[in-house]
């Protein structure tokens, strides 16, 4: 396997970005080429994957040089990220104009966030992707919220850097694996000393991962965003940040009991409060953004419990279904000038294909059987019970009821025109628009079918589908082809 593809995932989009400033007219093609190359390269890496690879940049062996780590975890990450990024770029290509360079840089940075094995390098890539996100959100024309985002994001990355500096002082290294080894050598428990740096890193990452109380920026930025910016932030950016978060929790977070309780309260609190907020909202995009905050809370809570595989399943389900939901919500908002649920009764009767795509994604989000979300949720509950955890499954089930309530309310409103009990007629929805775009329809249909297929096939093929390890599946299922 040619390991150079690992670095090219970052170098090619960066080079494309630099070049497209020189020849502005070709910017579109450079971006397309970079996205296509990244898709192909991540495919090749997945196809050839045998065992974890560590790529030493500059030829200096880790921990001295910066290294990129390609293991099952980051392989899954780059596959997910590059596919989602490409789909969003295709679906929302009319907004890309003038922002090609920013998107290329964001693509490079997000790949870097997932692949890097070095703490400071992680900070640099987080900062690049955050700045790209600030610039993209200026598309919303509501600069006040972008400014809020910028201030919070900069403070967050500052705290992250502070935590990294304290870690460097204690362990003398910036390489994540090396720090892990140095922690293991120390014979006494390190949890007590790590409280401050871990709290700082957790706080810093929670800003980008949208955990409460640091998610104040998300509402303003996302509530009128178009299908490019909003979808990128709720799916691609949030996937990369959560994956980096998971990697750090997995390798560095040696927590004392009280710190674990604090972190868990924050994440589970995010889950509960954000779902309640989503329930109380009346606008399509606001509902979705609060649901996205809640899912981030759930994913981080699962990582904190050490359930990597379950967390990844929830993450994948959330990223794919949010991509569909947010794209359509932004499109509905743009076509009709509003995304208020009350004003959109029966809008899907105008375009049933897109309506079915939306419905499938929403069903998967709440985890109904026959959809991928069901597999994810079943895995979460089973692995939590196996870990003898009773209260977290309870919370998840209760929250699922709230989630189910607002999703069903959303769907019934969007499908149903008239009063209750009356049969809906397409004529009643005349005043709404949901224009048909071939690209959009094809992608939404394929993604929806993929969600359903991923929900049904494991039920038929695997005996232990409720106990399914996505990481080893990736090596056995794809690597062994």
């Amino acid at each position: 396997m040619n390991t150079s593809f690992i670095i090219l995932l970052i170098a090619v989009p960066l080079g494309a970005a630099f070049l497209s400033v020189l020849v502005k007219k070709l910017g579109k093609y450079f971006l397309g080429a970079a996205i296509g190359f990244n898709l192909a390269a991540s495919g090749i890496l997945a196809y050839d994957y045998v065992s974890p690879v560590i790529y030493e940049i500059g030829g200096f062996k880790p921990p001295y040089g910066i290294s990129l780590v390609l293991d099952e975890y980051s392989l899954l990450g780059i596959l997910l990220l590059n596919v989602v990024f490409a789909l969003i770029a295709i679906m929302a290509c009319k907004y890309i104009k003038k922002y090609e360079v920013v998107l290329s840089v964001a693509l490079a940075a997000l790949n870097g966030v997932i692949l890097t094995g070095d703490l400071f390098n992680l900070f640099v890539f987080m900062e690049i992707s955050a700045i790209a996100a600030y610039i993209l959100t200026t598309m919303n024309k509501n600069i006040k919220y972008t400014f809020n985002y910028l201030v919070l994001g900069t403070l967050g990355s500052g705290l992250l850097l502070f935590g990294i500096a304290v870690i460097y002082n204690m362990f003398g290294s910036l390489n994540i694996m090396d720090i892990q080894n140095r922690m293991a050598i120390i014979s006494y428990p390190v949890a007590g000393a790590l409280v401050l740096p871990l709290a700082l890193i957790f706080t810093g990452l929670s800003v980008e991962a949208k955990l409460l109380p640091f998610s104040g920026w998300a509402r303003g930025v996302l509530k009128d965003s178009n299908s490019l910016v909003g979808t990128l932030i709720v799916s691609a950016f949030s996937a990369a940040v959560l994956l980096a978060f998971g990697r750090l929790i997995d390798s560095l977070f040696v927590m004392s009991d009280s710190l674990l309780i604090v972190f868990t309260v924050v994440t589970v609190g995010t889950l509960i409060l954000a779902e309640i907020a989503a329930f109380s909202k009346k606008n399509l995009r606001e509902i979705l953004l609060f649901s996205s905050i809640a899912q981030s809370g759930l994913v981080v809570a699962l990582f904190l419990q050490g359930l990597k595989s379950a967390a990844l399943l929830v993450l994948i389900n959330n990223v794919i279904s949010k991509m569909i939901l947010f794209t359509l919500a932004a499109k509905i908002g743009e076509d009709n000038g509003t995304d208020k649920l009350e004003d959109l009764k029966g809008v899907f009767l105008k375009n049933k294909v897109l309506g079915f795509g939306f419905t499938a994604a929403a069903m998967s989000l709440i985890g109904l059987p026959l959809f991928f979300g069901f597999i994810a949720k079943a895995n979460v509950l089973v692995s939590l019970f196996e870990a003898n955890n009773i209260w977290l499954p309870m919370v998840i089930l209760i929250v699922s009821v709230i989630e189910g309530a607002y999703v069903v309310r959303m769907l019934t409103t969007l499908w149903n025109t008239g009063e209750e009990g009356e049969l809906a007629k397409a004529e009643d929805a005349k005043q709404y628009k949901l224009t048909n775009k071939v690209r959009l329809t094809i992608i939404i249909t394929i993604a929806a079918i993929a969600i359903v297929a991923a929900g049904i096939l494991p039920l038929l093929q695997m005996n232990d589908w409720f106990n399914f390890d996505i990481l080893s599946f990736l090596t056995d299922g794809l690597g062994g082809v």
């Binding site: 200026t138 600069i143 403070l155 502070f162 500096a165 304290v166 460097y168």
Partner: protein, 111 residues
């Protein structure tokens, strides 16, 4: 000693972010926080009686006691990132001032 002051500076920056509503002052608070952070990072690399980490004709051997060069490299990166973010924030501030005629976020209203 400088280390204590650097942490206090970061706290002053956080205080500014919490208490101020003026766009320019918020950006200033971010800058204060960044200066404190940079001082802190350099201070963790300081070695008592260490030399400047440059080989010269006076300090010509690598076996002498130098201060840690890695934090300096990190701070160079951090300063440049800081100026990038500040420039972007100031451009946003300029735009906001064009739109609302004020730098005060409370006077800008919900829109």
């Amino acid at each position: 000693m400088i280390q204590y002051f650097s942490i206090v500076l970061m706290l002053v920056g956080i205080y500014g972010l919490l208490s101020q509503r003026n766009v320019i002052k918020l950006i200033a608070a971010l800058n204060i926080f960044e200066i404190g952070l940079n001082l802190f990072i350099v201070s963790i690399g300081f070695v008592k009686d260490g030399l400047v980490p440059i080989l010269t004709s006076n300090n010509e051997s690598s076996a002498m006691l130098y201060v840690d060069p890695l934090p300096h490299a990190l701070v160079l990166t951090s300063i440049v990132i800081g100026v990038g973010v500040t420039a972007l924030a100031l451009a946003l501030a300029k735009k906001m001032h064009d739109k609302y005629g004020t730098y005060d976020m409370d006077e800008m209203g919900g829109k």
